[in-house]
Structure formats: C-alpha cells, structure tokens
Amino acid sequence: MVLRETAADIGPTDIPSGKPRRWVEESDGWLLVGCILSGTMILGPIGPIVLGIAFWKLYKTVKAGTNVRPWAATIIGTFCLVDGLINFSPWTFDTFAHNTVLGETFITGYGRFFDGAFYLDYNSGALGGVANHSEKMWQYLAVFILMPMRVVSAWAFMQMRTWGLHFMKVSAWLYLFLWTGYTMAMSLDFPVRMANSEFGVAGWWMFNLFYLSPVFVLPYLYTVDKSRWSR
C-alpha cells in the first residue's frame, strides 16, 4: 500500500471530485496563452505579461505546497515551449505568409538585423520567402517535423503525460541534430548571411546561445523521477 500525504505525492490524475481536470495546475491556461502570445513574436510585447501572471499564480501554489507539478518541470517546460514556438511561428510566416505585408516586414526585418539570407533576394525562389537553399531545407524540417513536435511535447510534458516525457527526449535529440546542422550551414554561408546584417558575429551568438536548450534539458529529462509522468 502506498500512503500519499503531501501535495507533491498526489498524482495529477487524483481528483477529489472524480471529475477529470483539464489542466494539471489551475493557472495553466494563463501559462499556455502567455507562451503562445510570446511565441508568435508579433504579439511578443503582450505575451510575457500574461506569462508573468501565470508564474506568479504558480509560484503561490509552490509556496503553499499545493502544486502538483514540480517547479523545475514548470520552468524547463515553459522554456522549451516558448523556444519551440518562437522557432515554429516565424518560420511558418516565411513558409505560408511570405507575400503579406506583416510577414515580409517581420522576416526581412529579422534578416536585416541578424541574417542576410532573410532579406537578400527575398521572395525570388521557387517556394517564395527565403531564397537560400540550405535555409529553406532546414525551414521545412523545422516547420513540419521538429518544432511542432517540440511544442506539443513541451505542453504534454507540463501536463505530466507519459508520452510528453518520452517525446521531450526524442525532440531534444532531434533539436541537437538541427542545431548542429543549422550552425554549420550559417557558419559556412557567413559571407552571404551574417556578414550582410547589422549585428554580424554578435548576432550569431545572440541567437544561437539561446537555442542550446537540449544541452541543458536532456540531463534533467534523464534524471527525473519518471513515475510522476503518469497521466
């Protein structure tokens, strides 16, 4: 027999009323909306405010000892979700909406700041949007496979689902694969990409440093008590 005494020992499926809970934590709705708004980048100035409210509400439950999800899983899951969305959303702008004023302003503006491939010969290729072939290849891999996989796995991970923990590991390894290939592609194309941007080498570091998420997330995923991911 297993005695469960503290809030942390109570599984996410144990509901006193017997009615299935929609979220693991009460304020997860705020958390999801904050992540989505931040992840679009276009609505980025609003997103972190909503996310701040969600974190404040979650932190109060941690202080009160009534939280179900470990605080570390909340931070790491949110980081992966925002990271996945800010890769997914802008790349889908370039894939599907490169002819719109909003899409072209955003993507070419990013290109002028950080990566010349996103504004030189823009919309001149067969698929529209970015004309650089290696960038287009990584973009399709990211938009159709890796980033949506990352986004859904991060949310399922935060909802304490068994498959969420499993998919987080799979998508983290794939992310490491993409990061290595993408970094190589950008470095080899440096003269036509970063060299044609305002930030140059500094921009390369500014962006790529934050995308090292798998390096910090994988050790956590492999040492965590997986019995808690049981929904």
Binding site: I75, G109, P148, V151, L209, F210, T223
Partner: protein, 82 residues
C-alpha cells in the same frame, strides 16, 4: 488588406493543423514500458543538478522573452513596414 488577412488566416489554420497532427501522433506513441508505480520507482536523487539546470533554463527563458518583446517593435522602429 483582405488578401493578406486571408493568407494569415490560412497560415494560422495550417499551424493549428500541423500541431494537432503531432499531438495526435505523440499521444499514440507512448513508450512500450509503462511508468513504475510511485512506491517502486527508482528515484535518482539529483537535487543540485536539477537546481542548476532550472536556474540556467530560467535565465535562458528570460533572454528569450526579452527577444520576444523587443524584436517586432525594434524592426518597426528601425526599418518600418515593408
């Protein structure tokens, strides 16, 4: 304007569809081995490692959020609409 709105609506629909397909696939690809019950679980005690990783991820998350907040306004201020 209407032309752009239609394309953007299509993009949002495509995004939702892609995410829904992956959610569907992920939720059906549960690993063969089931999670052990809590009492029998092999708990690896790594509180220090978890604390360090949480702090690093929090710092990186703050960096990403600053990027999210600043990027589009900075583009509009510096380059204007295309």
């Amino acid at each position: 304007m209407l032309h752009d709105a239609l394309i953007l609506a299509g993009m949002v629909a495509a995004d939702a569809l892609i995410l829904a397909v992956w959610w569907f696939l992920g939720s059906r690809l549960v690993p063969a081995e089931s999670s052990p019950p809590a009492a029998e679980a092999t708990v690896t005690k790594t509180p220090l490692l978890h604390r360090v990783l949480t702090v690093i991820c929090f710092i990186l998350l703050v960096g990403l959020l600053v990027e999210c907040m600043a990027m589009f306004p900075a583009i509009l201020v510096r380059f204007g609409w295309s």
